[in-house]
Amino acid sequence: GCNGKSTSTKGSNDVKTADEGAGTTKEADTEKETGELVTGSTKGVSPDNALVIAVETSISSLDPHNLSDTLSISASRAMYENLVMFDADMNIVGQLAESYEISEDSLTYTFHLRKGVKFHDGTDFNAAAVKANFDRIMNKDNNLRTRSRFVLTEGDVETDRIESIEIPDDYTVVFQLSAPYSPFINKLTLVPVISPAAIEKYGNDGLITNPVGTGPYIFKEWVEGDHMTATKNQDYWGTKPGVDSVTIKEVPEAGSRTAMLQTGEADFIYPMPSDQISAAETTGDITVNATTSTIMRYVTLNTNLKELSDVKVRQAMNYAIDRNAYVQLMYAGYGAPATSVMAPSISYYSEQPVYEYNLDKAKSLLAEAGYPDGFKLTLWGDNSTQEVKGMTFIKQQLEQIGIEVEVVPMEPATVSDKIYVPLEDAKINMWYVNWSPSSCDADGAMRALFYSKMCPPTSANTAYYNNPEVDKLLDQGISSADPKELTDIYAKAQSAIWNDAPWLFLGNDQNIFANKTYLSGVSVAPDGAINFANATLAQ
């Protein structure tokens, strides 16, 4: 199954990984949706042929086997390639492998490698190189994050999923698995191949700052905390990039990021702060775009809390939220009200009947539950400006039905400290948070959050939601392979959770980015990864 990964906000978003590539390309059906690529709208010319991308967070490492955050993955993709990749239609196609075969018993994977590919250091890409990479990953002493993708952990026992790797000839690699593991091929989209010479030369510490791959750009420099620059790989085996170089620059302050786009210091910014879209658009040479994202915005309700244990209360609270206002206020309209427990871009999404904004209904439900005068709750969340704004909104909305909310923004580290406690120590009432399973899998979007055994400190079921039926459905889902059946199972699960309302379902925002009109070919994937392999600056 898919293992979902969360996106929290800035500060702790390094836990977000871009497993399994770019997610789906399903268009979200919001008005503002404009697709990923802005072709044909190119206006003006760029003063140079150097692409500058300004981003909010920082690149933490360039060791492609040990990455944790989306931005670092995006950046490393400038230099690195995988054996296989997702194409635009989310089909797995070869990248460094020209083709592959899977044996009948699903245990043997044979890859035929592309010939004539060279690493940036001039060494040849071949089967030995692939094996060397896997040897590095699977070596426990190297303590690399990618390893967990190929290891099965059961209690204290760890078993490698890959039994052996053979290289019958220079351009063939054969993986022998210890047991069938259908996501294996998907996982390979996240295993960039490093030059074995570089592995030898730099070692684990050195690889953080010295990426040597086969990709379209050659690493030039990385000034930690400031920028990374890579130049066009003139010897690239595939379509060469349209720009001479790409620089990914860290600009944490939203206003400054917008200003840089305005002055032309940056050609592309992500995320584009939604508050400044109107100002940015007035200059005329800037286009603001958005792609669908996999992020679900919600507020966890602690279903163990006396007041919140009543489903009527939780539903009442859901009725008290004006989701359109939420999307407008928080994302300048770049998003949509929540229509299920996960984003529409996730597979097996099933639309649910919306909790209409209806204060009367909310109040009467609350009265039925025995709280005509409301009660008091605390609302936790991260302390960034944007999150605080969202929390303020929730507070206002709930106060309309008499629920007094104390907003408590905290540092991400503090929040996680307070969240990951066993039920008896839990002080949580409500948590303003978000979740982004970057895999296609509905299981990833639900298991960690709603499965009864996934309560903290084990995992992220911070609602302490416990519905045996949902548990059963999720178990069924993971053991089934039939899409039809799965559609049905996950629809039932979504419906059950939606009605139980362990969350305040808020909305699904989009990845908003902006660029100079003379730039084309750069887009943001649903998981937030920036794709700039095909960038072109109009000259």
Partner: protein, 300 residues
Amino acid sequence: MSDSKKIKPNTSFGEDDILPKPKSKMKEFIKKFKKRKTAVASLIFILLLAVAAMLAPFIVPYDPAAADYNNLLKAPSAGHWWGTDEFGRDIFSRLLMGARLSLSVALSAVGIGALIGIVLGLLAGFYNGIIEAVVMRGSDILFSFPDILLAIAIVAVIGPGVINVVIAVAVFTVPSFARIMRSATLSVKEALYVEVARSVGCKNGRILWVHIFPGTIQSMIVNFTMRIGTAILAAASLSFLGFGANVTEPDWGAMLSQGRNYLNTAPHIVLFPGILIFLTVLAFNLLGDGLRDTLDPKMY
């Protein structure tokens, strides 16, 4: 000495004596203070602000927390004198209400910090030796910790909230007061009248309280008023970093930092808090200067 015969010195201090008429302590202070026009104006401004803040719940035109999603980011108009913010809340009302929090956080934080710092500095300056070494090394350590970090740590340890910001700001106010107080004490301690007091038979407590402390009050007042400004700004900086006092109740610093994204779309939402902070800090500084001059017995 009633038994002794009065001496009639060969001096006359009659009606033609040129000394001014006797005055009461307070009256004289007020009279001297009144001459300092800028200080008086500042005081009036601060008092008006304080009164407005106290009466804010009764006089604000709008509920400062009430969102109006039909009136987001509206420029100043007759309906909303200083416009509305990103939630459509009335900025004027929020600023008035915000004065409560901002002023009371700043005043109480600096007040607490000053109190502790002054006592420590006074003791350190008066009793040199162990006390001095401990206080001075302690303030060295506090000084070498970045202010912001200290604040973050305090807020992280005890959670966000008004009290915690007050504590945070107070903690980094202490060493500055302790130092200034110590050096002021050291210099006043050298004053002849302190020696006189000892020769008269005053105990240390009286010397400290009656003779030394009032001599340091001028520099304390200036530091105090200057620190008020710093505290208001520190609260704003903390908001910027996400460690503000209270995110939902209006607070000038938070308004400024949360509104910064609208600098080019709706400048009024940061302009007015900015101006108000500026005027308040200015007023406190001018008031401090005025008080210092008024308390200076040599100035008249």
